[in-house]
Amino acid sequence: MGQAQSHHPIKGAGLGLKRELLPQIQAAYGTSLTAHLDFVEIAPENWIGAGGKYAKQLAWFTERYPIVCHGLCLSLGGPDPLNEDFLRQVKQFLDQHQIPLYTEHLSYCSDGGYLYDLLPIPFTEEAVHHVARRIRRTQEILERRIAVENASFYVASPIAEMDEASFIRAVLQEADCDLHLDINNIYVNSVNFGFDPHAFLREMPGERIVYAHIAGHDHETEDLIIDTHGQDVIDPVWQLLREAYELFGVFPTLLERDTNIPPLADAMHEVNKIAGLQAAQQGIARQQPADAVSRKRASA
């Protein structure tokens, strides 16, 4: 599995494929507007088994762009049995469209039925084992490593036995899976729970990072951010991304925009900014080849 990982065709800067943006990307294909769009990301829950115009749109993109699958409903932290039938459909979908990367959230979204939203897992020892076991089973069925994303949330569970960073590290290590680092979620949680996002970033296991997200959000009150992916990315989040590249090296990074969708040119402005930060960091890395920024391989 480690071998496949090192030949990862997902690189550079990407954009979440929202239906509203689809025709605009198709129209701008091959123009300077999309010159820095290296890959796109889709939710398998929206595209598996969809025929008609949806199947044709998907085919258009798979022929032209590397694709990342970012799942929403696997419920890795959920109390229900893991939906293995669904995972087999995901496997078939990944194989059929030659999608190299599948990521999911460190959250749950079911309680005997699906709630279709990302809910927080209490950070306890038992939860670590539960989630890690389900990630391992997922990797078994998909026959590949997956990456899991640090989630944003609004309620700190009163039964937590550890902090979020410790929980993430423990799960990744026990599951032996990769990290999908969501830069915006670090910032959102740092405001919602009053911690230092820079310190949190440094606690992340850099050698496991294969992919990152960046996004905007809605700042509701002084101590509450709602993670809407509906605004421009704010400067402190850009700064965190820059810092992450400095600490861990460059990894493929995607702009998420899920509500209040702007025209493609505005979204591409932020995708280009990701590409700019990556190029700048790689420029520094080239000038200092012995520097510690070169990425470490995931330990086997």
């Binding site: 696997l74 039925g113 279709y116 939203d117 897992i121 209490p122 939860a127 569970s157």
Partner: protein, 251 residues
């Protein structure tokens, strides 16, 4: 869902109490130690997400029921329904399956909801187009109809229902509607008579020649004069081809 199962690990008891409250805040208190203000964020975003997923599929039903009744209906759906599909397009389908158990709805509501849902179902149906030739004799050959197609009969004039027109009683004869996806992947609705609807049902499996289907239709209708039916039927099949309902003849 009650969260009272003490055999479960503590974190799962907490998770189930958390979602029980989200689903039915009046019936289940939020877990102890959770601040009300933060809990409310989940109460709102989870329900709002579901509301937009369902609402997008049922614009007419939503308007004819009115805002208050619609909200109450969705609340009940959210509290009572156990969705078993991870696919987002199955949310409206689950809502449709839930509706018949609601006693307080107007009599046309389930038919209207089905009519609204079927557009989504036909738009996204994952179909395979059989080998066909677009030209070809529709009487002697086997006509191939649009692969994403449904022949529907409703007891209410669902295609006419609006805030201004809420039918009081069922139709004397059901209305026959054809919904299909054309070769440009657009979903089209066509109102038709019972005979055309039956002909399309006969053709849909792609096994009968046009002639065999028309003969079968004649038999079912008790038509003595099959010659005139076949002359008429040949013209009808051509018309269906013009409308992109029949795509050609099997090869």
């Amino acid at each position: 869902m009650s969260g009272a199962d003490t055999d479960l690990p503590l974190f799962q008891q907490y998770q189930l109490a958390f979602t029980a409250h989200i689903r039915h805040p009046r019936l289940h208190a939020r877990p102890e130690g959770v601040p009300a203000k933060r809990m409310r964020v989940y109460n709102e975003i989870v329900f709002n997400n579901l509301q937009s997923a369902v609402g997008a599929c049922y614009p007419v039903l939503q308007r004819v029921l009115g805002k208050r009744a619609w909200q109450a209906l969705l609340r009940r759906f959210f509290a009572e329904h156990q969705a078993n599909s991870p696919f987002f397009r199955d949310i409206p389908k689950a809502f449709l399956a839930f509706l018949p158990q609601v006693e307080t709805l107007p009599p046309y509501a389930v038919s209207l909801a089905h009519y609204e849902w079927v557009e989504l179902a036909i738009a996204s149906a994952d179909t395979v187009t059989p080998m066909l030739t677009a030209e070809g004799d529709l009487v002697q050959g086997i006509p191939i109809v649009a692969p994403a197609l449904a022949v529907l009969a409703y007891d209410y004039p669902v295609q006419k229902i609006s805030v201004r027109f809420k039918p009081r009683q069922a139709l004397a004869e059901p209305v026959h509607l054809l919904v299909f996806r054309n070769q440009q992947d657009e979903v089209k609705f066509v109102e038709m008579n019972a005979m055309t609807a039956r002909l399309l049902e006969l053709l849909q499996p792609g096994e009968l020649t046009g002639l065999a289907a028309l003969q079968q239709l004649g038999m079912e209708m008790g038509h003595a004069d099959s010659t005139s039916l076949i002359t008429f039927g040949a013209a009808l099949l051509e018309d269906l081809r013009q409308q992109d309902i029949v795509w050609g003849v099997a090869v």
